[in-house]
């Protein structure tokens, strides 16, 4: 047999494996999509006409402690804290942890919030780096500031957990913009059911939106293509990926930027783990395992309603680092909890959720890369099966575009946050173009993350943030004052 014939024979066998894999993945996605639509329909029916404001007068509502770690956030910390303090929730405490900042974070807080020293008697159930001082605000009695030695995000959260007095803890990033009534929505599953361990909310992309006083007042599509692709990605991930699991076996991830947990359960498992880059997924996995092993609460629910907004990277270099870290974190957590895989003791978590994350989320970039490289190699060697190549692209990318489109429909039907024609057209544009270049880039970054995990890399990398500023309205651009950016920014 000649080389061409051997190559032909190999590709012919392997292409069916690739196609079968994508058929399996798309079937899973279809099931998730149907589940997500059913969950959204039920959710909309439950919240229609709901009088959430009545909870504001309830004395039975559980206390929520908002835990916000901060490191070198001097530029934005005052606005962030003011936004947290104006959340609509009747029984709220805010615990801001200054994790050994080297800038003027503590000075800014002292200047703006009239702090006084306090000496509460609390049990340090989780070991953390030394706490230097504790302060409460005279102006805002429900704000406490914990000043400690630097120990990383997990350490800061654990220190806040020790101090928290709420039955529930809401873990946020200090630069996350939370909508005013988000907590009233997030608390609902805890009020309605006792098996609920944690609730996650939707994170949306704030780039391009009008931000005033720590709130997104006018959601807008970002100007840059990279941020635009991420808007579609985030919508798909939250409104489809996470909502779909509600009805099937629960979620394995709650975003570290915005999640609500039972405090006692988090303390019972020893708080957040150090030495992992996927601490938000790791704690959910551990919580769920603990729930199953001790026949305790084990449901992790996702609520599409309450929204937090965050800034996404607009530079390919920063985005690459982020995606690399996310995939490394995913691999680390799945490896750390590998006993759960196909283990009937963990119910749906072991038999459905975990295998999905391993076989689809973790492995998909590898298979996809092989598929693409296989097509290229086949073309170079003259052994390319053209019908297979077309099918591959239709299954992998065409179907992906369809999924994005259905998610945009879901968003439009249920929330209609993007109000203008311009924004809806941009959404359609980025959904259509996402699979022509951007998706392949994310595959490459995720492969690097997987390689990083296999080589034992543990770094976080440096994330650059531009910060939120009041964005000009769209008509300023129409007046020619601003140039539209539709290409990748350097």
């Amino acid at each position: 047999m000649s080389w061409v014939e051997i190559a032909h024979w190999l590709f012919y066998r392997f292409e069916w494996v690739i196609l079968a894999y994508f058929l399996f993945v798309n079937t899973m996605y279809l099931v998730l999509l149907i589940s997500a639509w059913a969950a959204m329909l039920e959710h909309r029916r439950v919240v229609k006409g709901e009088f959430r404001w009545k909870l504001l007068g309830s004395s039975q509502i559980p206390r929520i402690s908002v835990l916000a770690p901060a490191y070198n956030e001097g530029a934005t910390i005052a606005d962030s804290l003011h936004a947290f303090l104006t959340l609509n929730y009747p029984n709220l405490e805010i615990i801001l942890v200054n994790d050994g900042s080297k800038d003027k974070t503590m000075e800014v807080i002292k200047d703006n919030f009239d702090l006084t020293s306090i000496h509460p008697i609390y049990q340090r159930r989780i070991e953390t780096k030394a706490v230097r001082a504790l302060y409460a605000s005279r102006r805002y009695p429900n704000l406490v500031v914990l000043d400690k030695e630097n120990g990383g995000k997990a350490d800061a959260l654990n220190a806040a957990l020790n101090l928290a007095t709420g039955q529930l803890v809401c873990v946020v990033d200090s630069d996350t913009l939370i909508e005013a009534d988000a907590l009233l929505r997030m608390v609902r599953p805890f009020l309605m059911g006792e098996n609920v361990l944690a609730v996650g909310g939707t994170i949306r992309v704030a780039n391009g939106s009008r931000v005033e006083g720590g709130r997104v007042t006018a959601p807008r599509m970002p100007r840059s293509a990279l941020a635009g692709f991420q808007v579609v990605e985030y919508l798909r991930s939250f409104l489809f990926g996470r909502l779909g699991w509600n009805k099937m076996a629960g979620n394995l991830i709650i975003s570290g930027a915005f999640g609500l947990f039972r405090r006692d359960s988090v303390i019972a498992i020893g708080g957040y783990a150090h030495h992992t880059v996927g601490e938000d997924m790791e704690i959910v996995a551990r919580l769920r395992r603990h729930g199953y092993e001790n026949k305790d609460a084990n449901k992790v629910i996702f609520i599409p309603d309450p929204v937090a907004w965050t800034e996404v990277p607009e530079s390919p270099r920063v985005l690459a680092r982020q995606r690399d870290r996310w995939h490394r974190g995913l691999a680390e957590v799945l490896w750390r909890h590998r006993q759960v895989m196909f283990n009937y003791k963990y119910g749906g978590l072991g038999l459905l959720v975990f295998p999905f994350f391993v076989l689809v989320e973790l492995v998909a970039p590898v298979i996809e890369a092989i598929g693409v490289l296989g097509c290229v190699a086949g073309w170079l060697l003259g052994a390319m099966n053209v019908p297979f190549a077309i099918c591959f692209f239709l299954f992998a990318y065409g179907y992906g575009t369809l999924l994005s489109m259905f998610v945009l429909l879901m968003e439009e039907w249920s929330y209609h946050r993007y109000d203008t024609l311009r924004d809806r057209l941009l959404l359609l544009l980025w959904a259509a173009l996402e699979n022509l270049g951007y998706r392949q880039l994310t595959v490459w970054w995720r492969l690097k993350g997987l390689a990083g995990f296999l080589s034992g890399r543990k770094t976080w990398g440096h994330m650059e943030r531009k910060g939120f500023q009041a964005q000009p309205p769209a008509n300023a651009r129409a007046a020619g004052k601003l140039k539209p950016h539709i290409f990748f920014q350097k």
Binding site: P141, P387, L402, D419
Partner: protein
């Protein structure tokens, strides 16, 4: 086995059609929503205008007022239900003197009848919508109590909310029975409803707590602590001897809310309870009552092996005042390191900004 050309073409065609249809729907839906919102805003503004004019008409003579009322009712009857509901919700609380007019409006526009019809639908979301409408309109006395037994928990929770706005002994008894019903998916709604009912629910709660003890007593005692009527003393004293530790702890909290010599005696006995949560609750209650005769016993509890008990005992000593502070100072030199450490922590708390310090203890 290869992939046929026809299969590929049909796949491409199918995906392209779905994409196109989705894109068109997205754009059309957005435009429709904008038009719909503008229309609703116009109608609502007009309704407010009519309401204001109508309120002015009531100052006119009787005959003129009567003919104006007929015209106004016709206008409001022509409004879509969602606009009417919004008008009722926003007007009811914002503008005084409109209650009579609103009651008439709800009847004459058929909104109450519509909501009551929804409550007998086979679909839970319709029943929920009806229940919510009736709650807002403060109507539905004939149908809402039945929804307390609805198979769907969200509908039941809404019925509970309605019940809390119509407090009565009978409804309070029904709510308490709901607490027993298994899953407790709407347990918060029941507890919140009982709390809002306040003293109207006191009799029913006393009767409930006087029955055979069960798990839900802990929750009811929490509500009872906020009502704290004298009728709760007898069941609280009985429950302070209950075999279940959480119930004894709940009884300790309730006794702390009630006060009086009998409560104090029971709490002093509970300071020696076998369960740490009960000892901690008793210490907390004694601190709340500022019971200085309990100082020696509280000091003993500072040597407890449970951190929670030591903490509550220490704070209770501080709350008692001078005798407690004296005791804490004595304990600084105690041989028991736990007691000495807790005494130091309590005494270290600054006396300034008392309110803040108390909040953060």
């Amino acid at each position: 086995m290869g992939i046929s050309r026809e299969f590929i073409v049909s796949l491409i065609r199918g995906e392209a059609w779905v994409l196109l249809a989705s894109a068109i729907f997205l754009l059309i839906h957005g435009a429709w929503i904008r038009w719909h919102r503008r229309r609703d805003r116009r109608l609502l503004n007009k309704a407010y205008g009519e309401l204001a004019a109508m309120l002015d008409h009531t100052k006119a003579g009787e005959r003129e007022a009567h003919s104006n009322r007929r015209r106004d009712s016709a206008f409001f009857r022509g409004l879509p239900p969602r606009i009417l509901i919004k008008l009722i919700v926003e007007t009811d609380r914002a503008i005084s003197g409109t209650q009579e007019w609103l009651s008439r409006l709800k009847r004459e526009t058929g909104l109450v009848q519509l909501a009551e019809a929804y409550c007998s639908s086979v679909f839970w979301w319709r029943r929920l919508e009806g229940a919510r409408l009736l709650t807002v309109m403060d109507a539905g006395q004939s149908v809402m109590p039945d929804l307390l037994q609805d198979p769907h928990p969200t509908v039941r929770a809404q019925a509970v909310e309605w019940a809390s706005l119509h407090p009565s002994q009978k409804l309070a008894e029904k709510l308490l029975r709901l607490l027993r019903d298994g899953a407790g998916l709407y347990r918060f709604a029941v507890l919140d409803g009982l709390t809002r009912m306040g003293t109207h629910a006191a009799g029913a709660m006393v009767e409930f707590l006087s029955g055979p003890s069960e798990e839900s007593f802990v929750l009811v005692m929490r509500v009872a602590s906020s009502v704290a009527g004298p009728g709760f003393l007898k069941p609280a004293l009985t429950l302070s001897q209950d075999p279940s530790a959480p119930i004894r702890a709940g009884a300790a909290a309730l006794l702390g809310a009630l006060g009086g010599s009998e409560s104090v005696n029971a709490l002093l006995a509970l300071l020696r309870d076998s369960a740490p949560e009960v000892r901690a609750a008793a210490a907390r209650s004694l601190g709340k009552l500022a019971q200085w005769p309990a100082t020696p016993l509280l000091a003993e509890n500072l040597r407890d092996r449970s951190w929670e008990v030591r903490r509550e005992a220490g704070l209770a000593l501080r709350a008692v005042g001078s005798p407690g502070i004296l005791m804490l100072r004595r304990l600084l030199a105690d041989k028991d390191h736990f007691a000495a450490d807790m005494a130091k922590q309590v005494l270290d708390m600054p006396t300034g900004d008392r309110e803040l310090q108390e909040q953060w203890t």
